[in-house]
Point group: D2
């Protein structure tokens, strides 16, 4: 192996730049050439590819987003697009590829791997929904962003004696909502993994009111059974004591400077990805497994969804 | 004057606690008794009033929201409620009142002042919409919150080549949108003070795309002529190059630890408010006027709205 | 077991409050009484002990330091003091004790355990020097504080083309220096675990200069073989290209709001500590072991020092 | 005027980049050519000068330090160096110069102005020691950095019942110490403008101890009459109740992302500097004067030192 390619794909997440930097510098330290592929698989098909040196990754470890950019690419979901992608890699003299991204991006990696091209994935996802890694690149930063937002909302909720519904990201995975709710001192968390009655939500808010709390905070994942507007409407139609307000944290959850945890995780995964390629492995994702960096096959990583640990749901019941 | 009361009223803003602390400590230093009135005029009518000592305001300078809480009070808008308020103040032996809050709160102060009760106001508002003060308590903190959100959104917008519409607070005053847009490097700002064509917005986004920018950012005040959903819909119906996303910053803008500017302003205004009461003045608001603390009559402060300086709109045109 | 005690001891670390909150609420959920012991073992001997309810731990999850305070206690190092401590616990009707703190605090726990009193420890340490846990409460927050300081120093170092020596905490354990150096993009890290020649430091700085870098950053642990002043003096006496400046981060490393990681870890450890006491275990410390919460005997946890992983030192060599 | 030059000089301060960006974009909007001079007057003499376009200042508004870098230049203090500087400006076709920096940098500007070259200064200084402007670029950011450090130190000081001495920047001007002390809830502030007895410091700490406070905080400016080590030694030799610790904030005060206030001030000053040059003015500094941007002659701005307002010292006495 003489030249490796690196791309970021799917939704961006804070720490992707730290991972790109790590891949580039590790590869250079091992005397490989590195080529950066802009805009994920879309850029691969367009040939938007350039060689990267040490300086190209200077000063990016602390930046959110991804300097390689990212894009959706329907074309690469078809065999024709995949073959074109393989051709481009060969044209560029790339011998192995690191794909940093979420579920869909890793599936793109599987396609190339099946055609015989060496591919190693690294999990980038703010939702922490990728199986085979305890945490994905970006999750810790997003969690801190959510936590600070909840801290800020509690200030204002307490000042007005209000109930606040806060929507956080997580279409299929309630990790951010559950852990955010624990850390932000929420009264209730509503996650995709658990069905719930609107009546129970109203009871939780009423309880907080009756106990004399100055506010109630409910964290709602995007993919919860009832969406935040439905919950708000129900609470407003029933007497719950507090005035009800809702806020959707939205895209700010995806941005911001990566935390120490994400920079370290991303750096470790970048080194590991290069080492796997050099060791002749392909079709695997590197991930954080019990404190150490391990691997899992891309097939397995993409075949199931990470779920919130039962430990965290129990935790919430104790401390909330 | 032997005993003064202090309340926060209307929407809470970061720095109100620093102002309460300053009022309490200054009054104590001048050997007055201080009584805190919880939940604004509502708490006044309910007699939710308690004496405050030095320790009651320890460790609150850095906290958002208001420890005195705040509430709306329709009853106090009627003469009957206002007479009851006056009775309560007399029952408690309060000789003068400091009201920290926005437009509506200052109007409540006028009512008491007109009945002969000494009242001094201090401007608390995240929107910076109060006349007679260059900045209100909370505006600087909110502006920093918006600025950091825009910094974060730029990270992710650049990674995806997107146009982002961002709604910030400001129903009648475009200060936050205009200055936020300058500081956040926006392509366009849409404020209540200026009519605009949706076509011009589309042109601004197209221009950014054609110039090869990696993203476009448009900051929209709550009270802009067309609301953010209308703007988004228009852009999606017209080819503007970038994918369009929208985000509403919402209530997080109101929370958070007060900045140095807000802590200092709030502290200065608290000292001044006590001094005005002791000097026998009433019916005035203390405010920041050209770097110094001055006063303006409550009537004048509430009779007009602060507008965004033309200087800032020109500034935006130069540097955006 | 009907009543448990909780104390924080040794140096404070961010997240201790989250752990106290978790111990209190979990114990209450299990229908135990909880007593807080102020100022560690010193407060135990003085009988500075009070019952704690849910409200006593409201709003503390986000605060640095420890509401239970902490102090050194030479008296408790002697058998006489330890017997007095045991007597106090019995007087208060406390059946089991949770000690949150570092090495010395856990040794105090061993003394009580050996006299037959049920004790469970939880690791609080900003240095991450405690064996038997992958991370201690406070380490992640401190690491983020160091990282932000290094980000800030790079700004100014680059503007002036300077070499910066930065001292971070860690008398025996180089974790903060090593990981901080990786995340902050340092040119060299000097840690207690590794001897080094001053000449090599000078070479590293010269190399950075010759390669055309705009600055050089060297992170020095408190307990490094040569202290930061010696290193600075050596560099100044030898021509290294850059001007040399030094800064000692000092006590600010110990403060600040706990991060999401520390709040979650502290909450998990608090629940686990109560569960261990209820399960009849004593003389153990709860810790983070490969992503899960496990236990280790207090004897073992205090018999050796955690060292920086070789993986991290290798990492540094690749990416720096 | 067809081409203007821009440089940053002296110590860097957060917001200098925002000012450079504003100068460049305003000049381009007015159809001027702009040339950036690297490393202040040193770079001018070396001819380290390059044309700047819109893109060269993209994404720098949020960065600390200065992309134009800065350096000391003894050579430019002599007439010979100044003549060489003038020659370089002419060689490059530069018709007017904007110098962003502190006292020494503005004096450099005077030299060129006296030789007939159009020069406009903008005040950049974290100390806020420049006369003729209410605030300098960088002061607000530094004040926020100091405030957050004091917030963090209070957490740990309270946990241990300690007295903390904290040294902040300010060799001749006590602004940062005085205002930082107000905002950080200090017990005493020691500034260059006011002589003090060590005995009074000891009394202040003893008072805090006797009143039952959990800590004492003393903020010491670099240029205070007795330096921080002398103060610490005195306190340790006298019984003051608390254990005494000291910390020197150091260079981190100079770094970090500029706040909203600094970005706005820097942007306003950049526009004004270009407008002054275009209006044919020279030998002046643009500054913040009572909320508006005004000018002062460079001679006057550099002939005296800004002092801390008496209002702030009074304020401290009321609220501390």
């Amino acid at each position: 192996m003489k030249c490796i390619g690196v791309m970021t794909s799917g939704g961006d997440s804070p720490g992707m730049n730290a991972c790109v930097r790590s891949v580039v510098r590790t590869a250079l330290a091992k005397e490989l050439t590195v080529k950066g592929i802009q805009r994920g698989f879309a850029g691969l098909l367009d040939g938007d590819i350039h060689e990267m040196g040490r300086r190209d990754v200077s000063g990016i470890i602390q930046r959110g987003g991804t300097v390689l950019q990212t894009a959706r690419c329907l074309e690469f979901m078809e065999p024709k697009g995949q073959r074109l992608g393989l051709r481009r890699l060969n044209e560029e003299g790339i011998d192995g590829l690191t794909v940093i991204g979420g579920d869909g991006s890793l599936r793109g990696g599987i396609a190339l791997h099946k055609m015989g091209f060496p591919v190693v994935g690294a999990p980038g996802s703010i939702d922490n929904d990728i199986a085979g890694t305890d945490m994905s690149i970006g999750t810790d930063t997003t969690l801190n962003t959510i936590m600070r937002a909840l801290d800020a909302l509690r200030d204002t909720a307490s000042s007005h004696e209000r109930a606040f519904l806060v929507e956080v990201m997580g279409r299929k995975c309630g990790y951010l909502a559950a852990v955010g709710g624990i850390l932000g001192g929420a009264e209730m968390i509503l996650i995709p993994e658990a069905a719930f009655d609107l009546e129970d939500v109203a009871h939780a808010v009423q309880d907080a009111y009756i106990q004399g709390k100055s506010h109630a905070l409910i964290v709602v994942a995007e993919g919860a059974q009832h969406d935040i507007n439905q919950v708000a409407e129900y609470l407003r139609q029933h007497e719950v004591g507090f005035d009800v307000r809702l806020t959707i944290l939205g895209h700010v959850q995806r941005g911001g400077r990566p935390t120490a945890f994400d920079r370290l995780l991303a750096t470790r995964l970048g080194v590991a990805a290069v080492n796997e390629l050099l060791a002749g492995n392909s079709g695997v994702m590197v991930g954080l497994q019990g404190g150490e960096i391990g691997t899992i096959s891309l097939e397995e990583a993409t075949s199931r969804q990470r779920e919130v640990k039962q430990e965290y749901l129990d935790l919430f019941n104790y401390v909330s």
